[in-house]
């Protein structure tokens, strides 16, 4: 309440100094603006860093945690697992992953995802770092193919990632052998690649194996290159003896393949991506020339062919000319109505292609090529000249047999039988069989000999020997009297000798004198030795005068 006198008192109160009105924008209003700007920038930043949301399905979500598992490429975070859920059929887990911005163009049908966690495999231990940090999802970007948002994760890490340069090839094998994923590929025993995958062909007729050969070695793979299996140990018993083959200890444990290009195939073009090769069982098989032309012949043997197996070599004087194709039963020509072993052999003219004729005189190249053109006719001609086949022991230890063809001019004349399915080359018994046959013949002759007569003669011989003995018995007393007289004479001679050598005999006295002389000589020798011991210089200077 204002009282009348109060204002008067207040009139003495001085006035405040009025400042000039400061006009302009109130600075405080910049604050909400700044807050808006900062907030908006933060929001924009997170939104712009947000990439596409994708889903990846795995069999299990082992080691994966919502919000904590990252997707990494070259160890850089490119995404984060948002949620983990099951697929509708509960058969897999579906990870919803927020990828970073800019990853859209690398999310295509060829992109791959897999979980990195500690693993122990043929190639060593991987992912040890994730023991502490927890599993993460590795991402392999690819800009090829159609872009997509849903992926199926790999259960095992891929062997070959995009940061490896090289070429992939496909191998076809009858059997998988010891090939395993991650197993090495050798080139001159260098580890230069890996087995990436394998699967059965759609019609199950072969095994399809993928290999990856790292650059720069991939350019050594030509279209004429041979691949073979080096895994494990291969022990083969053949006509050439037992053979143990092994590549390396690692290959022994994990398997593997090797390849080689023969010099004559080096000018074939370098093989491109996904070229298909045959994977051979071993190096020998791989480096064998691929045999395309064969001429099949039939051999019929009389005796047992135990020790001969399909695949055994056919040799002409030690040079391989073919292979035993099959062993079957067929009509025995010697014993009508029974069966005997029939051996089918393949004569392979290509095997002899590389042999050069050194003296060029006899079998000219034309002749060889003629042989290659029509081997059946040529062999038919040679059979007339004495070409025969026989079984030979390749190895005495294993007892493996092989087929030898050679020209035996002394063999009984025969011709090639061409009526059947295959032409037939006449055979000879093998060497061992021959020996047995001659022993048989000797025994047969022995059997035929007149044993009875021989025994009678022997008996007569015995009788006459007995007569001789009785005659000797009759002349015995006369003979013994004469022997006694001779002994007496010998006795008297001995007595005379004894008398002359006794001590007082003639010889004895002389012997005693000689012994005395020897002992005197020995004494003077002893004196000299004693003197020399004291005066060794006497040897040079002589005995000085005393």
């Amino acid at each position: 309440m204002a009282t009348p006198n109060q204002p008067d008192d207040f009139d003495t109160v001085p006035d405040a100094v009025v400042d000039a009105e400061s006009k302009g924008f109130p600075v405080v209003w910049l604050l909400p603006l700044v807050a808006l700007l900062v907030g908006g920038w933060l929001f924009y930043k997170t939104e712009s860093e947000k990439g596409p949301e994708i889903t990846v399905t795995f069999n299990t979500a082992e080691g994966i945690e919502e919000g904590k598992t990252y997707v990494k490429f070259r160890d850089v975070n490119v995404g984060n697992v948002h949620t983990v859920d099951f697929t509708e059929d509960l058969k897999a887990v579906e990870l919803s992953i927020m990828m970073k911005a800019g990853s859209e163009e690398y999310l295509t049908e060829k992109s791959r995802f897999w979980v990195v966690k500690p693993r122990v495999g043929a190639g060593g231990v991987t992912g040890l770092g994730t023991l502490f940090s927890g599993a993460y999802i590795a991402f392999e970007p690819s800009s090829e193919g159609e872009s997509r948002k849903a992926f199926v994760g790999l259960e095992t890490p891929p062997i070959v990632t995009i940061d490896k340069q090289g070429t992939r090839f496909r191998l076809r094998a009858d059997e998988l052998g010891s090939v395993s994923i991650g197993a090495p590929v050798y080139f001159r025993q260098f580890d230069i690649g890996e087995i990436t995958d394998y699967k059965l062909a759609d019609d199950y007729s072969y095994v399809d194996i993928g290999v990856f050969i790292t650059a720069p070695y991939d350019k050594y793979v030509h279209t004429g290159t041979y691949f073979w299996n080096v895994g494990g140990v291969s022990l083969s018993m053949g006509a050439s003896g037992a053979k143990l083959e092994m590549e390396s200890l690692i290959a022994l444990m994990s398997g593997g393949v090797a390849f080689e290009t023969l010099p004559e195939f080096l000018d074939t073009p370098v093989a491109g991506e996904d070229t298909v090769f045959t994977l051979y069982e071993n190096r020998t098989k791989a480096l064998e020339r691929p045999i395309t032309e064969t001429a099949t012949f039939v051999l019929r043997f009389d005796g047992s062919i135990r020790g001969l197996s399909a695949g055994a070599p056919v040799e002409y004087r030690g040079i391989r000319v073919g292979t035993v194709k099959a062993i079957e039963l067929g009509a025995d020509p010697n014993n009508k109505g029974t069966v005997g072993p029939v051996v089918l052999i393949d004569i392979e003219p290509q095997r002899t292609m590389n042999y050069q004729d050194i003296d060029k005189s006899k079998a000219s190249e034309e002749e060889i090529s003629e042989f290659e053109k029509d081997p059946v006719a040529r062999i038919g001609m040679l059979v007339k000249r004495g070409l025969r086949a026989r079984l030979q022991t390749g190895s005495l230890i294993t007892g493996q047999l092989f087929v030898e063809v050679d020209i035996f001019p002394d063999a009984a004349p025969a011709v090639m039988v061409t009526g059947g399915q295959y032409p037939e080359i006449p055979t000879l018994p093998n060497s061992l069989e021959g020996i047995i046959a001659s022993v048989d013949r000797i025994l047969d002759k022995l059997e035929d000999a007149d044993l009875q007569g021989t025994l009678k003669n022997l008996n007569a011989l015995m009788v006459s020997t007995a007569g001789l003995a009785s005659t000797l018995e009759k002349g015995m007393p006369e003979l013994s009297a004469e022997l006694l007289a001779t002994l007496k004479t010998a006795h008297s001679a001995m007595a005379t000798l004894e008398a002359s050598t006794s001590a007082d005999g003639e010889i004895g006295i002389e012997l005693q004198a000689a012994l005395k002389e020897i002992s005197a000589a020995a004494r003077s020798l002893r004196v000299m030795a004693a003197y020399l011991e004291r005066h060794p210089e006497a040897l040079i200077k002589g005995k000085g005068t005393p």
Binding site: A2, D15, D19, A35, G39, F132
Partner: protein, 210 residues
Amino acid sequence: MRARDAGLASCHTCGLLLHLPASGHTHCPRCKSPMHLRKPNSLSQTWALLIAAMVAYLPANLYPVMTVVSFGKSQSDTILSGVIYLFVHGDWPLALIVFIASVLVPLLKMVALLYLLVTVQRKSHLRNQQRTRLYRVVELVGRWSMVDIFVVALLAALVNVGAVATIEPGAGAIAFSAVVILTMFAAMNFDPRLIWDYEGEKNGNAEPAG
């Protein structure tokens, strides 16, 4: 009667009683300190700070306040996810404290300031005493919301053991401290005398009759 009605005010700095014009910038002739009957632009400044605080409140709650990196595993927590974590793991008293101190209090503070601003602008003269008490509470409680920020700052400084464990403050922490500071300034800029100004007007109207 208010000092304002008499056109009088004492200098905040030296206490000299002066005649002041109803509006305009003035200063004390003795100590040269600026003088005013009411805090100049109080409402406008409070509005600006409050709006800034409200804007900052969104990222404060949406962005992680801290990221714990332990053995390569990193975990980011926002204020609310921390509260939920505590609650789920049975530490509900602690969860309640964090929730009240970090979520509820800043929110209520902003609502209270908003209410005060709106009522003053509408020249309301209802429940003046309660509103004044509300203002006092707002001013008092403001500084305690910084506890969260202290915790994060301490942890970030202390837990720095390389690969084993590292704690990094997140964008949310900065936004949250901005909220606390801005609301504190807003409360400071609000002139509680404004609450009573209009009561005086009303009373003044009734005065001649009385």
